[in-house]
Symmetry: C2
Subunit: 195 residues, 2 copies
């Protein structure tokens, strides 16, 4: 029971860290704010994360990787054409941006940009997160008959476009860049599939 409760507190702390990073970045997220946001008792953060902020940030990046990865995975399972899959993912992201009044960005991007020069541990977690999104898109393109090497190159470009479109959309407070990204990627991926 205690362990269950402890696990629940730990999960809430990671959830809060993730949401606060999406909103304000990593450096701008204080651990007291995380504890309050999670409604967790003071001291519980260092009990569950004795290594502190870097360890909690790593868990938040891993959670973001798993969440977005399952979104990509679910979209792929529908067996749609690559362009449709990408459009479906971008539609979900557009919903997240509008529902949050354009206050939430990608936690992996912001942690990469803030901490890439300071924490090899966080940089590595971010590289793994990107890889966990590139891999299923690569598999999708290979399943559609693309050679592995070009499939991986295109999948990396897809993830890059999606990451950038979220940022431009947030800056412009408009989902238009996400739609433009979907149109461009659908054209790129489905044209090639057809060729």
């Amino acid at each position: 029971m205690a362990t269950t409760k402890g696990a629940a507190t730990s999960a809430r702390l990671v959830e809060s860290m993730l949401e606060l990073i999406q909103r304000n970045g990593y450096a701008g997220t204080g651990l007291n704010t995380v504890t309050e946001h999670a409604g967790a008792p003071k001291g519980s953060l260092y009990f569950h994360f004795p290594e502190g902020k870097e360890a909690l940030g790593e868990k938040a990046v891993e959670l973001a990787a798993a969440r977005f990865g399952s979104l990509v995975g679910d979209s792929v399972l529908e067996g749609a054409a690559p362009g449709q899959v990408v459009r479906g993912v971008l539609d979900v992201l557009a919903g997240i941006l509008t529902d949050s009044d354009f206050q939430l960005g990608c936690p992996v991007s912001v942690v990469t940009l803030e901490m890439g020069a300071q924490s090899e541990r966080l940089r590595f977690a971010c590289a793994n997160a990107f890889e966990s999104w590139i891999a299923p898109v690569t598999d999708l393109l290979v399943a559609r008959g693309r050679p592995e090497s070009t499939a991986r190159a295109r999948a990396t470009a897809v993830v890059s476009m999606v990451e950038g479109a979220v940022i431009v959309s947030r800056a412009q407070r408009s989902t238009e860049p996400l739609r433009f990204a979907a149109d461009a990627l659908a054209l790129l991926l489905d044209q090639e599939a057809a060729s």
Copy 2:
């Protein structure tokens, strides 16, 4: 003479703020660090930027917008095909990443992600920066015969892909994502130009 010296100090402070934001983000950049990095006298920051960090950050974003804008403008002036122009820009960015041992990211992306929810002034500066890069690419595509509306949509997708590719490259400590972005954009833009 005093004003010239003052202008030089002010410019050094903006330069240092820009470089430190590229390296560690906005929240992670302290004003004392900026003053030291600029080799400026203590107190000079509040003398030149009485409004403080937000005003200095705005100037840094504007400087980044002008720098990258002139890089895009110079590439466009060469009159190359859109795909070649984009490849040229991405080659320069790859050089910046490798020369900095992958320590420098895009200051506009990181300020958008960290401060978009907190500072309308900085969010607006970032939106203007993206617009200042989207506009010349739109003009380039229009000059190549694309209708204004689709040219703007593609130009926005190009800027999104470039922003995202810089982030994925930094996370992976590899310029491969930048090359993959150049390949994908060249295919997208030049295929369309040909069609």
